[in-house]
Symmetry: C2
Subunit: 483 residues, 2 copies
């Protein structure tokens, strides 16, 4: 198994080995881990190393210490497995669906609501805000004119160079000229779609998919075909190939790494095949790489764009989830559509702020980004495990969930015909805000599912909200909690 980081210390290596053993069922839920001294001797490390490693697993919610007894594997959730279904026919989002998305999204803005579902980091202490503030202050001192100068396309060369340099970690080979800065990943997707589609065209999307795609597609007059997506391995390429053969889609949007909302990642072979397919059939792929740098493995698994021979893959992403949520700084490497994209950005919203782009460029240059990403990945991985632990104990028996390969969202399916839209409305009265599965598809397929997000601090309020969600789901289903 690959480790969380390149120079992992001994106790991290040990923790990873044990975590893997737990996930693979070598240590079953409820079973006792080897005693400290035995583990130390069998792995030829010190007692302190074992204690620290066990501490890490405890923080992640994988194991628990029972007084006078030792360490035990906590109950884990059954994972979601493949569900076979065919691509849907061509659909357009209904106005009811769009209204629902609006309603749920707007609920996010109530500061007194506890959010357990949206992917909008709301805590500065996850991010290197102090360092970026210092960079901004220093920039304003050194270049007092900056604010008074008109920012023009193509925007900060420093930032685009850093983006190009860093893209190598995902197997891509880009130059600064290949990169167009955008106002977040949302604008990257919007411009990408406008570059390659016309109203009436049909776009393939994953099922379930990022729900905000539906109003975006609707706003552009685009129709949707939903493609089956495996909870672990992502997009069904067999289904996709059928659609491509029959020329049923004019573009495709997919998240091959750490998919939102499933957390799934395609295999290396799958990514290569996907790149071959879109190049062969000459159908543009908008690869949404938003969580690619938050994969839990190291080295990172590559982007599909890494295997893009003729430029049919348009890689879209943003620093919104990783460094500076406030800045909404994203980018697109649009392959054969690069020039078109740059033009479209210029006439759609001209350019991004140089103050913010340069600040981010300086931060990336400083080398602080990798260090920050490592701690962010560790934190999200731990919080995901902890959330899964709470669900295992507090949600109805038979609840299943995905085990994400990165990022901070995962997908939960409830037993007993619990309608998660009804669950949403009931919990909103208690000021708990979640996103029901119905948001993530135009079909009825996800009515018993919901997405959860671990981008919030795991404080008392958040864990209370999670447990309360489980309690209401138990009540609605008439099924007792898992423990």
């Amino acid at each position: 198994m690959s480790t969380i980081e390149p120079q992992a210390t001994l106790y991290h290596q040990l923790a990873e080995t044990l975590a893997e053993a737990i996930h693979q069922g070598t240590f079953m839920p409820g079973s006792r881990l080897p005693a400290i001294r035995r583990c130390a001797s069998s792995h030829q490390v010190s007692v302190n190393t074992v204690l620290t490693a066990y501490g890490i697993l405890e923080d992640r919610g994988l194991i628990e210490a029972r007084p006078q007894s030792g360490y035990y594997v906590r109950d884990t959730l059954p994972s979601l497995t493949r569900q076979a279904f065919q691509p849907t026919g061509v659909r357009s989002p209904s106005s009811e669906k769009l209204d629902l998305i609006d309603t749920v999204f707007a609920a996010q803005n109530h500061s007194e609501y506890t959010n357990i579902s949206l992917a909008c980091p709301q805590s500065g202490d996850f991010f290197p805000t102090a360092k970026i503030s210092r960079i901004i202050a220093s920039l304003m001192r050194r270049e007092p004119d900056l604010i008074g100068r008109y920012a023009l396309p193509p925007g900060s060369l420093r930032l685009r160079r850093e983006i190009a340099r860093r893209s190598m970690a995902l197997g891509m080979s880009l130059s600064a000229e290949d990169v167009t800065l955008t106002h977040g990943c949302m604008e990257a997707l919007q411009l990408g779609l406008r570059a390659v589609t016309r109203p009436g065209d049909c776009v393939g999307v994953e099922t379930p998919t990022y729900f905000y795609l539906f109003p975006l597609l609707a706003s552009l007059g685009l129709k949707v075909v939903e493609i089956p997506t495996d909870p672990q391995f992502g997009l069904s390429l067999d289904a996709l190939e059928l659609l491509l053969q029959e020329k049923r889609i004019q573009a495709l949007i997919a998240m091959p790494n750490a998919q939102n909302p499933l957390g799934s990642s395609m295999t290396l072979e799958g990514k290569k095949r996907l790149a071959r397919l879109v190049n062969h059939y000459q159908v543009p792929l908008l690869e949404d790489g938003l969580y690619s740098e938050l994969q839990f493995c190291w080295p990172l698994t590559p982007a599909v764009k890494a295997f893009d021979e003729d430029g049919w893959v348009m890689y879209c992403t943003s620093f919104t989830k990783t460094v500076a949520p406030d800045f909404h700084l994203g980018w697109i490497a649009a392959g054969r559509f690069s020039q078109q994209l740059a033009r479209l950005k210029a006439v759609s919203s001209l350019a991004e702020s140089r103050l913010l782009s340069e600040a981010l460029g300086h931060f990336l240059e400083s080398g602080g980004y990798d260090h920050h990403l490592r701690s962010l990945r560790r934190r999200y991985a731990a919080q995901l495990e902890e959330a899964r632990g709470i669900i295992a104990r507090h949600f109805p028996q038979g609840t299943r969930a995905t085990r994400p390969s990165g990022g901070f969202v995962f997908w939960v399916e409830l037993p007993g015909n619990v309608d998660t839209l009804e669950l949403f409305h009931r919990l909103l009265q208690e000021k708990i805000c979640l996103t029901p599965g119905a948001l993530y598809t135009l079909s009825e397929r996800c009515n018993h599912a919901l997405r959860l997000s671990c981008c919030y601090p795991f404080d008392e309020r958040y864990t209370w909200a999670l447990k309360r969600t489980g309690a209401v789901a138990c009540e609605m289903s008439g099924i007792a909690a898992g423990m």
Copy 2:
């Protein structure tokens, strides 16, 4: 005549009175102004007041001191007057036109080129950058989390409230809820168009018009009808009414105040009629108010939106030309399309940075904006007069130019069949960048015109570039300079 500012001092009042007399021809070019003492006694002010007023007019390039002789009115340019022509038929921008716009716009990015034409302020010392820097630094200190929080729609309430409050100065009555923040005026126009048109629709524009509208309209698959526009009073409403009666346009874009590139402003009656027309025919008007706050008169003349009974006017503008060019913070008040606009913004680029929006909101709250606008107006008015003075002396005899009512761009027409596209290419070799008239229309009507911009510091390099442009134009036309 209205004065430049509400509490104008005595010498400003006197300067304005004299300037008006010069513009109306009471004092002809070349004639001598009253002697200092005579003027003081006839206006019942002190000698010092007269000296200061004459100094202001001298700074504006309206008069000049001749040693041992007194003050004389400088040569002024003949103004452009109405040219009668009919609306064009329906057109689409050709790819040659779009390439030309790209070429000219890209030339702007060469730091060694001297720009005399584009409306992109590149000098921080025109703007309150020190104060805004202090506000940003203070915000980051007080709210260290800010950068790490996800900015969500509808964005800073503080900024939207200030926008609503300030809109009263233009006769509008808005609340914070009516305002959608955008990424500059460009995104306001883009979203506005997407909200009310479909590909294939036809949009009415002024002639000449802001050239970047053409690639924007082309990117949205929209066609264009060009409407005659008076160099002094703006859009021809008779022509417009004909188009509306015949249902030949589905939307209209206009700049009723300080039009780009003419500098024209519609009369009060004209604005009222325009509002009545679009409401009667139910055709949305995108009112581009980019230079409305830079009108030279005080109180400001109102926006057309001020007379919008049923919400068919969508007011678009930005702080890019007035306070913080780098931030690209704009807004739209979309009337009956407000909700649609807010949705479209959210799915197109989500939200603007809270750090920047709050900083701007604090700056507006502080009251520093009005003071800053006054000095900016004075500066631009003076620079426009100075530029007109240089043109009068260095451009071919018979050159005519508009006299803008605000902003910092104006329109120049050359005599002798000088092709300004050729002029552009010749001057580019000398690293001088201008925008030929061909950019501003899809017709051949403006091939002998160009736009000039006074948003740059009037340093030696700028004035050299202006004079050099005149010299090359003289050479090309075979006509001697004006003086």
